[in-house]
Amino acid sequence: MVGQHELHTKLNSLLELPKSLILVGDKGCGKHTFVKLIADRFQYELIDFSDVDKEQIEKLYEIVTPAIYLIAEPNEKKQSTLLKLLEEPPVNVYLIVLTTSVNHLLPTVVNRCQIWSFSPYDLFELMQFTENKELIKIANTPGKILAYTDFDFDYYISLADKIVKHISRAQWSNLFKLTEVFDYKSNAIDLFIPLLQHQLFSEYKESNEEKLYKKYFLVKQLQNSLTNVNNVDKQKLFESAIFGMKLCN
């Protein structure tokens, strides 16, 4: 695992694993990789606890072999289910919660756990995953960089640039040619939106034009919806942003 020296030092100095631990870090920073290191360090089995329910929690009080129970980005309902586990931890159970932000967790959960945070990666560390410095401006974690492996980066950067510079001149009907480029069943749009956001922000910094900031804000809202709304229709979201951007003129 590249970087994260502080976390490694913490892990190596532990005599005993905390009963409940929250790992906080941006998407792709290596949370799952680090959990495997924890499991190896203590020789504990690692169990995916994503589908936790009350019945499963009751059974945990009977287990005899120590194990790590991992749950990633639990919703509020799942967090409420975990409360008993946190208040009366079973002897052989070690709970690790992964999240991109402690703000996504209930205060009652946060207060009962140790929190370990991932540090931002520096340029040198990220260059071990790619030589593309443009990509590093957009993808700030190893996981995010690796997601762009099979992505035609140069083509999409050029597309983002065209959108930023020429959308005001495009015919309304031609906007669909932009939105129909993507296969929405794949993750192409999820990888493209950060590029577009980056291009808009770069242009805004250079020109300081208000309409560019409005466009940037539209795309940022799009990014939030893609991340936070389950099963959202990505094509309609993107069309909404593109049409909104044209209206900004």
């Binding site: 015919q171 309304w172 009907s173 031609n174 669909f176 129909e180 919806s225 936070n228 709304v229 389950n230 099963n231 959202v232 229709d233 309609k236 979201l237 069309e239 909404s240 049409f243 909104g244 209206l247």
Partner: protein
């Protein structure tokens, strides 16, 4: 050849000599046999929707449809027609299909709805007014489920008004009324929706999808200085049809409606927008643009 012999040849996988001429007043029974003989079912469905005389090719068997056959046919053809000219009759292998009687339609329903109570099947056949095509559609909905679940699902569908006999008032009536800003028609469908005893098939998400697709097509054509197959991604006949629609929306209104439609999906998936008010919202969005 008689129909029974054809059925036997299909079931036993014996050789069949082409061309075959299916003489029938309607398409339903002949198409059941075509589906067994021709190996590309999706293609066959398209063929059924078209009318007139044209040749198609699949697995080396060509399926032709014509009101009256008056030319000799040779080769791997199945011809479906209502009449054959007497002079060519001796030269052809004609299979006469019986007219669909009510008892045959009922038999079709019973044999395809295993698991559903007989009283329920009889009710469905009546609601569909013995219309075989309508019945086939409703039966296909139930056949998606296992035999053990079918009766429960059937009764749920019945209670929710999903089987309906008000075929005049449905999702397409509402969507075209909105697109044409036909306020009277919208009011009429809307009033029916409010009546508890009415059974109107206006499924909100289906209506939303139709409106989204159609407004998108209108933008692609009306707001394009040169709408072609290449520039719109639409076939020419569709472009022509949309060009000739009465323009009930200005360009600004079209954009406003379309952008409102785009926000709906995220709205109800994020919980901001309850689906119960979707039809109301769509009506207001289109009419008050």
């Amino acid at each position: 050849m008689q129909l029974e012999e054809l059925k036997s040849r299909i079931e036993n996988k014996w050789e069949i000599t082409y061309p075959l001429v299916f003489l029938s007043a309607d398409m339903f029974l002949p198409m059941q046999y075509v589906k067994r003989l021709v190996l590309e079912p999706e293609f066959v469905e398209e063929y059924v929707k078209a009318s007139g005389f044209f040749a198609t090719s699949t697995n080396n068997i060509k399926v032709l449809r014509t009101p009256e056959l008056n030319v000799e046919v040779s080769g791997n053809y199945i011809v479906i027609c209502k009449k054959v000219e007497p002079s060519i009759t001796p030269l052809l292998n004609i299979i006469e299909f019986p007219k669909l009687e009510d008892w045959m339609i009922e038999d079709y329903a019973y044999s395809n709805l295993e698991g559903v109570k007989e009283t329920n099947i009889a009710w469905l056949v009546n609601v569909c007014k013995h219309d075989i095509y309508r019945l086939e559609q409703e039966i296909d909905r139930i056949k998606l489920f296992d035999n053990a679940e079918r009766n429960i699902v059937f009764e749920q569908f019945r209670d929710d008004g999903i089987f309906n006999d008000l075929s005049e008032l449905n999702i397409f009536t509402m969507s075209s009324a909105l697109q044409n800003k036909d306020i009277q028609k919208v009011e009429s469908v809307y009033e029916s929706l409010q009546t508890a005893s009415s059974i109107v098939d206006v499924e909100p998400l289906g209506l939303y999808t139709i409106l989204y697709n159609n407004f998108k097509k209108m933008i692609k054509v009306w707001m394009n200085s040169n709408p072609t197959e290449e520039t719109t991604g639409m076939p020419n006949n569709q472009i022509w049809a949309i060009k000739n629609l009465k323009k009930m929306y200005t360009k600004e209104q079209l954009l406003k409606v379309f952008m409102s439609l785009l926000k709906i999906d995220e709205g109800f998936k994020s919980g901001k927008f309850p689906i119960e008010i979707l039809v109301d919202y769509l009506v207001i969005t289109c009419l008050v643009s």
